[in-house]
């Protein structure tokens, strides 16, 4: 029983982690709480659906293409909405409000185009094989979701830690002005991060769309407070923290459904968030970033 729950938790948690990773990346580098991330997540799922139904592609071919499409959307949001606000002495919440506008625009445009009803992948899209190990049942889809999520996270970690590019990204996250003086293409890094973050968010959207087989315009909304909870758990802007935080939230949710009551699922997650903030405001891995005057 508990092993089965852990597997479910791992699947859900790895998608949360993937979602939160893009979220935390944008916060860490661009210092924007990107509330359009849920809309990009939804767009990724719809892109995969269109590729599967209209272009008759295999879902595993459609997934990377959908990630590219949502990455492009993220880049578009950055260029149109966030770029004009950079370097301006506006209220520091203005970029966040602008992303709310972008989220409203994208979500409602999707509703106008696809309708409010739930769309599903056609039969045979989703691998339905499953393995029985003792009393535990694992589906092929669950394995694929966990492997894909972890591969993507690992790839991101390696790029950030081991490559020159990753070094540049970390430098910009630390201080954009100094990075600019050191000859780093700061705007380029911003664009790259916006693209990558959105691609990861869109990928998470495809995986959630597959595992629940339900795609609808507002599917990104419940993910937003969860994404925020995850990056608080892990520490704002911390990549490793987002991964651990996502898995942790997955476990907390699945376990509270299994052993408490499904009604209190969200309260458990946010109760934890609330407690962690009070005890350790910088998250599990975060550093204290508070500026003293």
């Amino acid at each position: 029983m508990i092993a089965q729950q852990l597997i479910n938790a791992l699947t859900l948690g790895s998608v949360y982690a993937l979602f939160a990773l893009g979220f935390t990346l944008v916060f860490g580098v661009l210092e924007v709480i990107n509330l359009a991330h849920g809309a990009v997540f939804m767009a990724g799922a719809y892109a995969a659906l269109l590729l599967v139904t209209k272009a008759n592609l295999n879902i595993w071919v459609a997934l990377p293409l959908a990630m590219l499409a949502s990455g492009a959307l993220g880049l578009l949001i950055d260029q149109i909405v966030l770029k004009p606000l950079r370097g301006r002495r506006a209220h520091h919440l203005m970029p966040m409000i602008a992303t709310i506008g972008a989220a409203t625009l994208i979500t409602n445009a999707a509703q106008g185009i696809f309708g409010a009803e739930t769309s599903r992948f056609p039969l045979g899209t989703i691998p339905e094989e499953s393995f029985q190990i003792g009393t535990i049942r694992i589906t092929e889809l669950q394995i694929a979701i966990v492997i894909i999520s972890f591969l993507l996270m690992l790839l991101l970690m390696v790029i950030l830690k081991k490559t020159r590019l990753g070094k540049a990204v970390r430098a910009v996250a630390e201080n954009p002005q100094t990075s600019y003086l050191l000859g780093i293409n700061v705007e380029g890094v911003f664009r790259l991060v916006s693209f990558t973050a959105a691609a990861l968010g869109g990928g998470a959207g495809v995986l959630i769309g597959l595992s629940f087989n339900a795609i609808f315009p507002f599917m990104g909304q419940p993910l937003m407070p969860k994404g925020i909870a995850v990056i608080i758990l892990g520490g704002m802007g911390d990549v490793r923290g987002a991964m651990v935080g996502g898995l942790f939230l997955g476990v907390a949710e699945v376990m509270s459904v299994a052993y408490l009551s499904s009604d209190y699922r969200d309260a458990v997650a946010f109760g934890l968030l609330f407690l962690i903030l009070l005890v350790r405001p910088s998250g599990l891995f975060g550093r204290v970033l508070e500026r003293k005057a």
Binding site: I33, L35, I80, V81, P84, L85, R88, A90, H91, L93, M94, P95, I97, A98, I100, G101, A102, A103, T104, L105, I106, T107, N108, A109, Q111, G112, Q221, M224, P225, I228, A229, I232, M236, S261, D263, Y264, D266, A267, A269, F270, G271, L273, F274, L277, L278, P281, E290, K292, A293
Partner: protein
């Protein structure tokens, strides 16, 4: 003419009430913002106020005035209790903690028997009248005008500009922050109580993440330079979907577009005194 007015009132009275309630919520978040606190708990406080006032009317049969008072009092008490530990946080962390608190409150509403679960409370009698909303708004506006030049108002401003410096000047920052937080919660609670008594029902969905973000959006959209901006901004955001009704399914999409354009081209919000001054100079020249 009076017929036209009557038709207009019959069609739009709920909208007018909504604009009034949103203006109150805008003031409640402005109060915390003016003290440098980014709190996203106002939707939750509004919810606590709405449920409390509605239950006072439905179960206890209290008169409207007392129900509203309870609807302000309980959120104020809750704010006092959670404010003491929470207000040690600042900036984005405070925003997230209050958001987490809001989600917990929403789930509690969803699961308690007395709050009617996911169905919420129905059949709340129509008690709110226009003059209630107007009177409360007038009192609040008078209060905010007086606040600006008072000791408390100056303390809020000092804390907002630089908390460390304010502390060094001998301002008891903790208690002033708590005061702003509790007062904001009371205003939001009363707004919730008023809202419940003209929409006839309360449900947990109205007080989650999205409304919390909406309240903040209205305030920033209007501009947080003075208390007028948030009221104007939230009123416009409440009316806009009605004006854009002809766009049907895409009307909220246009709402989003307008929000983006305002943020990009009017960075200090719509109600920007400096912008007005500049326009006036241009007009006279």
């Amino acid at each position: 003419m009076t017929d036209d007015l009557q038709v207009f009132w019959a069609t739009y009275n709920t909208l007018v009430y909504t604009v009034g309630v949103h203006a109150m919520l805008a003031l409640s978040i402005y109060l915390t913002l003016s003290c440098g606190l980014l709190s996203l708990g106002n939707a939750a406080f509004m919810g606590i106020g709405a449920y409390t006032a509605a239950l006072a009317t439905l179960r206890l049969g209290l008169p409207f005035g007392e129900a509203l008072a309870l609807g302000g009092l309980l959120p104020g008490l809750v704010a006092l209790v959670i404010g003491i530990p929470t207000l040690r946080l600042s900036g984005v962390y405070l925003a997230m903690a209050t958001l987490g608190f809001g989600e917990v409150v929403r789930v509690v509403f969803l699961n308690l028997e007395i709050t009617g679960g996911s169905m919420g409370l129905n059949g709340i009698p129509m008690k709110t009248q226009l003059w209630h909303i107007v009177a409360i708004l007038v009192v609040l506006v008078y209060g905010f005008v007086r606040l600006r030049r008072s000791k408390i108002g100056r303390a809020f401003e000092a804390i907002k500009e630089d908390e460390t410096a304010a502390k060094a000047m001998g301002i008891n920052t903790t208690s002033y922050k708590l005061l702003a937080f509790v007062l904001g919660a009371i205003i939001a609670g009363v707004a919730g109580g008023l809202n419940a008594h003209f929409t006839f029902f309360v449900s947990p969905r109205e007080y989650g993440f999205d409304p919390a973000v909406d309240i903040l959006t209205g305030a920033i959209f209007g501009g947080t330079g003075s208390f007028v901006g948030p009221m104007v901004g939230s009123a416009i955001l409440a009316i806009l979907p009605e004006l854009l009704r002809f766009l049907k399914a895409f009307r909220l999409a246009v709402n989003g577009l307008i929000l983006i354009l305002v943020v990009i081209y009017l960075p200090n919000g719509i109600w920007d005194r400096k912008l007005f001054a500049r326009l006036r100079r241009k007009g006279s020249a």
